[in-house]
């Protein structure tokens, strides 16, 4: 079993969806990823929080198999994101991003983190993603996420990140933006030419398309009739995906990547069933395996 290093945000979110609203709820990619991936393998978090960060929120990660010695606490306020979703729950509308302590953040890996075999660079400034890569010694697998903001404002840095990736996880709309291509299948091929050996395009309620070794793998989402809050679905997809790969600690075969995508899909399906990290706090591997069996029925067909 390998160790997973994640760099990302620890945040307080204000989120409004058709079913309700939360204010100051725990969020951030590193939190969503950490709490979920730690069900599969030990996780090391690098990030920053402000003076207002609640003790109970620190304890949430450290009560799991998560090493938070890479989380700096500095003066100022914790990163804050406010967003809302209309009936189209596939896409968030950002209302406000307050970087706060994240504005001057530069990731510093504790010495004990530098031998991490599996690295997930959550959706942060590609300059910071590179700073992390420059500090890890000999990672086996490097995966990253990104978003339209970096595609538009820091494309050359982002292209440098892409060259160093084994896996890019990216939303469909952002894949289109990055490749100037409307067709997701074409977009995946184009992204693979930019560096990542394996490309996962996330399509919200429609599931994912993965492109790897000249092969496509298409997987629907697990059917959920009431999506409460899609926030964190992408990060927990990454968590199940990387978690399964780290747990197996095997070279990246197409079969391993397919299995990993299934676990990512399942993790995301739990996340969206409640606000914030609420559905993930009590989630167990048994529940995941039970949904895995249900999912197999949902997607399998006779030969």
């Amino acid at each position: 079993m390998g160790h997973i290093l994640v760099v990302g945000s620890l945040a307080y979110d204000t989120v409004k969806t058709p079913t309700g609203k939360v204010d100051g709820a725990l969020g951030g990619s590193a939190n969503y990823f950490g709490i979920s991936a730690s069900l599969f393998a030990p996780v090391r978090v690098v990030g920053v929080v402000g003076e207002d960060y609640r003790d109970e929120d620190t304890k949430l990660l450290s009560s799991r198999n998560v090493d938070i010695s890479g989380v700096e606490r500095v003066s100022g306020k914790t990163f804050h994101w406010a967003g809302e979703y209309d009936d189209n729950l596939n896409e968030a509308k950002t209302l406000r991003t307050e970087l706060n302590v994240f504005a001057d953040f530069h990731p510093k890996l504790p010495a004990s983190f530098k031998n991490s075999e599996y690295v997930f660079l959550a959706n942060i400034d590609p300059v910071l993603q590179i700073e992390v890569l420059d500090q890890v010694k000999a990672p086996k697998v490097i995966a990253a996420d990104t978003m339209n903001f970096w595609i538009t404002s820091k494309i050359s840095d982002l292209l440098n990140v892409l060259k160093r990736l084994d896996i890019l996880l990216i939303n469909e709309g952002e894949a289109r933006l990055l490749t100037e291509t409307s067709n997701a299948i074409q977009a995946a091929k184009k992204i693979a030419k930019m560096g990542p050996k394996h490309v996962v395009i996330k399509r919200g309620e429609y599931g994912i398309v993965m492109y790897s070794q000249n092969q496509f793998f298409c997987l629907p989402a697990f059917p959920i009739s009431t999506v409460v809050d899609p926030t964190g679905a992408g990060d927990t997809f990454a968590a199940g995906f990387m978690g399964h790969i780290a747990r197996s600690n095997q070279p990246l075969s197409l079969d391993l990547l397919k299995s990993a995508a299934v676990y990512g899909t399942l993790l995301a399906s739990f996340t969206v069933q409640d606000f914030s990290l609420n559905a993930l706090k009590s989630l167990t591997l048994d529940q995941i395996e039970s949904r895995h069996r249900d999912f197999r029925q949902v997607v399998s067909f006779p030969t």
Copy 2:
């Protein structure tokens, strides 16, 4: 093997997509359905054409396993549809609908058609769909398609159709409109309460969701990197779906419906690779089976 009866349009289309344009190209749901479903089982077509309908287009169906003795030829012009697709190839924008000879059409089944075991009511006025149902004797399976125009303008007739259906095939946007529900999973459940025992929601490039016997089946589309013209994809999905069911001639089990949805998906994937019926004219069962094997790789994952 059972006989399939289809009622629908025989048309000339003007279609513009990002890759090109055709004018006066053969189209219409009965044509798309007939040419494709006849690869699986004998098809009987009920419809109407005008004086301008080309002999070669009549011959196209009759050269296959299609009985066109239910196609009336009347004075006036053939039904004409003009539409265009922008980069979002999932949704057509209708520019013009000229009903022409379809305006006064009332389907009359030849005596030899009335014992058809499998009935597909393509997307036409629900009043006409009922007129067809009133003429068939003892169908084993009745399936239908519909569209937003009928949902908005003839909802009570449409609800009467739904009560008599085994299977409704419907686009995602139209399923949302019909149920006033944004979530496709919820929409499928609501439609099942309106009558159809089995509901297939078509999601374009994202595949389908089927709801049957309290179970969901989710199937991605076959990955196509260049979609030339999506026109007819829904009708050929129905063709593969009903074709496989009629070919098997077995009661509707979940497994049979799943297999049928796979054949529908494959047929649709060929259709969109060229304008009009061009990709379907030379399509063979061997090619379909070959893509079936490829598709299994695309969607299967290890246990």
